[in-house]
Symmetry: C2
Subunit: 326 residues, 2 copies
Amino acid sequence: MAERDSWAEDTGPLDFVEPDRVGRAIRPHLKPTTFLESPLLDERLGARVLLVSETTQHTGSFKARAALAAALHAESEHLLAASSGNFGAALAWAAARAGHRCTVVMPADSARVKIDNVRAHGATVDLVDTRAQSRQSRVEELQAKLGDVEVLSAYDDPHVIAGNATLGAELFEHERPDCVVVPVGGGGLSSGIVRARDRLADGVLVIGGEPLLANDAARSLKAGILCRDAEESRTICDGARTLSLGVRNFAILRRGLAGIVEVPEEHVAEAMRLLARAVHLKVEPTGALALAALLTEPTRFAGHRVACVVSGGNVDEELYTRLISG
Amino acid sequence: MAERDSWAEDTGPLDFVEPDRVGRAIRPHLKPTTFLESPLLDERLGARVLLVSETTQHTGSFKARAALAAALHAESEHLLAASSGNFGAALAWAAARAGHRCTVVMPADSARVKIDNVRAHGATVDLVDTRAQSRQSRVEELQAKLGDVEVLSAYDDPHVIAGNATLGAELFEHERPDCVVVPVGGGGLSSGIVRARDRLADGVLVIGGEPLLANDAARSLKAGILCRDAEESRTICDGARTLSLGVRNFAILRRGLAGIVEVPEEHVAEAMRLLARAVHLKVEPTGALALAALLTEPTRFAGHRVACVVSGGNVDEELYTRLISG
């Protein structure tokens, strides 16, 4: 189910953030990304796979990049955001570094480890039953109540995109692959990678991996207009349950993405098992989407040098062991 | 059960291998070790923990260092070794790089992933029922049968020790902790770390973590003479089931090690869970021994900067999920 939005073409200012300046500000505080390769993966996938893993980033996902870029730029003392968890933990971490208070609106069924992570960094967690109220509506409610608070988007924000672009910059400084496959939720990470590619690695294809059960971005790219899910998907990829791409992200992705692979749930679980077995990484479902895209459309990637972004590792142990026991 | 060996003092030549030369030869072929930190670990352990992880090393463990150093030095065309698995996979990998044939004697109950890893690199696997025949005896049998073959020890070998010392060198180039905790099996890794400490970080304590169920090294250090288990322990730490330290390793460890923590099995499993949760690493039981040592004797490490060597990640999925579900 999807509705088409008339505001899809209102892309807002895209270019006022200078990516090098953001990179210089945040990279000293970040962990370098982890590059991994494995003959076992290459053999299974028929491609030369380079894993670009953010599971060892601060707060366990790439979101530390986005959150720190946004927090350093924020003017209010109190930051407010909706997040399925990783951006929340990252923003809590970044807010603490930048001297801000922080409140995070999270779906009540978020992974427990993600809720714990947000609280561990001193932020306030506001749980919302997403079947009864959208995260966005709860954010607006809180904003009215709290007064002087700055609402940050986990993806539809120029600083967030510039922050995520630092991951692309690290990748392209490391090497120039044939293509980069990246998980797509709200489009924050993928649009950051596209921006880095545009500046540093012109001609390298960027391809999204999106859950088939939450394929609003794939539909948007096909339709040429922003499509929106009517309600949050039940995909195991909880980082990709966003109802639609952000407006800025769609504007970047519709011209910058070479395509989106729609990934069935069983390939996500298989990719998680492969990552555990081949490179000893514990990844969350959303973090396995890029590798799962190669399992879904192997001929598309056969023989190529493919960089797969592993976006994060935060997943409840119970769900994790169930999925990799498969 | 232990017997005391009269050959315990026959330490052999220890110093003819020049560690810098070995390091220059092998480090370009190795992956740099992965340094990880986590506030969650620090809070749980009351120490400032630096993880030094070799799970992302070639063949998934530190043994690639030792094996490559030994293989580059070998003169026979055919290499033969006994191994619970990680040295076997590493030697198969190193032999292929150095243009040698390779046969590995492995306990029949080794983790299946370890047997697969050895075969994947083109080596021959020879399975031995260790209740009926020791690995060493099977190696001697094969050596007599095969003729011109060079038998390599996974730990009691100057090149192996020098190869493992490169991990210590990377650590001490990165920083100077208060102490380093390292898993102890045959003593190959721990003696490599001691050698690196002696050259690069005089005064830093090196402490072993050994399974309580296979505590021959702890007993040896206390007795001042090499003690040997009567039969292979059933500890879940399959990399630490060796009957005794190597002669060279004991000579290095008895003067170089500040102590050994004897780790109960349940702390190994808890350390594996902590590593999955806090830093998203899938580690094998032996690889969790150092962190488990901190769980076993927390007051010994409280408030200190402690580098914990995570030696490898090769563990069957079934055992792994069972242990971290614990």
